[in-house]
């Protein structure tokens, strides 16, 4: 029997949740025995080459590329897990929610004190993904099966979730594993 397959992605996140995945320490050796990795920044596989069992997504959706990647994960993964505060509720990037997008872009690219006068230009290239009106948590874009809050979620909650999903048992999240910060 072939091993279960895991895919991961970082959308509008800081990569901290991926760091927390690596933070499972020596358990990572056991993980490598248990599973194969497909599309993931950890192994640099860029596109899905086979259907996956579990997809771990860090970060929310802030632009059209995030939405595209998220939809491809939904299509290719049996179980989709929102990992971390940004995936669950938008997180720090969502601090721009409620502020009109025009104001955000002007602040970042025109009025910010660190922008040199000759560089004052709002990026508008057709190759760039279009920024969304606000940052969306994953479950407001596609169906999400499990949520792991935390900034980042602890290695223990990630390990518990992964082993539970691989063994097909319900997640057993203890009080000290559940943190929003």
């Amino acid at each position: 029997m072939s091993k279960p397959v895991i895919a991961t992605a970082s959308l509008a996140g800081c990569f901290g949740c991926h760091m927390s995945v690596l933070d499972i320490d020596e358990r990572i050796l056991k993980l490598i025995e248990l599973v194969d990795f497909n599309k993931s920044p950890i192994n640099d596989i860029k596109t899905f080459t086979r259907p996956c069992d579990v997809g771990l997504i860090e970060g929310g959706c802030c632009n059209t590329e995030n939405v595209e990647v998220l939809r491809s994960f939904r299509k290719n993964c049996k179980i989709l897990v929102a990992v971390g505060e940004c995936a669950v509720m938008g997180g720090l990037p969502a601090m721009r929610n409620g502020i009109p997008i025009k104001e955000c872009l002007e602040e970042a690219y025109l009025h910010s004190v660190t922008v040199a006068p000759e560089d004052r230009l709002i990026p508008n290239d057709e190759d760039l993904p279009v920024i969304l009106d606000r940052v969306y948590p994953l479950h407001e874009v596609v169906k999400i099966d499990h949520f792991l809050p935390g900034c980042p979620p602890s290695a223990d909650i990630i390990w518990e979730a992964l082993t539970a999903l691989l063994e097909g048992r319900p997640l057993n999240i203890s009080y000290d594993m559940l943190k929003y910060d």
């Binding site: 929102a82 505060e85 669950v88 509720m89 938008g90 997180g91 720090l92 969502a94 601090m95 929610n97 409620g98 502020i99 606000r134 948590p137 479950h139 407001e140 999400i144 499990h146 949520f147 792991l148 809050p149 900034c151 999240i173 009080y175 000290d176 559940l178 943190k179 929003y180 910060d181």
Partner: protein
């Protein structure tokens, strides 16, 4: 004074006349979650997290006086789910960014969410646009986090009993505000009291951020309400 007998979730309990359901439950080692209520303040029944079922009817345990032979349900699955829904609603109607909040770990709203094991809210986020206000030399008001519990309004007063905090505006635009004259004259001690009485991170004292390390904060080790059960 005659003892009042009642039951909570089939547990026989006794209470003193004049107690509220919440007080009576606490004295019998039964935890009823509260958010707007604070021991010693006049209850207002603003948040409804403490809703219990008394003889088949829903009532706010913080405001309802205990009565003879009351049959109270506190942990029925539908009640617990309703409380969960209320907590989730409070999360989505404000902007609660726990990772950036100084009150994280000491926040009662967050602690209740932990207690109920909430992983994500069932409601869509509203993302209201609210301001942060530098209110005088000692205080910072982050309106993103205010849940309108009225604790600051009730608890923080001058020596001659004048209100320092009040609710401004109406409905969805309601927010707390400081008295324009009394507010800027707040002592450091009163500012600390205001921050401590706030269940969330809406009232913060300036110049001392993140003083308590992770692991030693109020709700790091055990869920909110644990101490009520321990005392019994």
């Amino acid at each position: 004074m005659a003892e009042i007998r009642f039951t909570i979730d089939d547990k026989p309990c006794t209470a003193k006349a004049g107690q509220t359901i919440w007080e009576a439950a606490r004295d019998n080692g039964v935890y009823i979650p509260v958010l707007c209520h604070y021991d010693g303040l006049k209850p207002v029944g603003a948040c409804r997290i403490c809703t219990v079922r008394v003889n088949g009817r829903l009532m706010a345990a913080c405001t309802q006086p205990i009565g003879k032979d009351m049959i109270i349900e506190n942990t029925a699955p539908d009640l617990e789910d309703m409380r969960r829904a209320l907590i989730e609603m409070l999360f989505v109607e404000g902007n609660h960014m726990c990772p950036t909040c100084e009150k994280s770990g000491n926040c009662e709203l967050q602690a209740l969410a932990y207690r109920y094991g909430i992983l994500a809210p069932r409601f869509p986020y509203l993302w209201p646009r609210r301001e942060i206000e530098a209110a005088g030399p000692h205080l910072l008001l982050d309106h993103n986090r205010c849940i309108q519990c009225l604790r600051c309004v009730r608890a923080v007063k001058t020596k001659d009993d004048k209100l320092i905090f009040a609710l401004l505006h109406r409905s969805g635009k309601v927010r707390i505000g400081l008295d324009p004259e009394l507010g800027p004259r707040l002592t450091e001690e009163t500012a600390q009291k205001a921050m401590d009485i706030c269940p969330v991170g809406a009232i913060l004292k300036k110049e001392v951020g993140f003083a308590v390390p992770i692991g030693k904060r109020k709700f790091d080790a055990a869920p909110i309400g644990s101490e009520t059960a321990e005392k019994a």
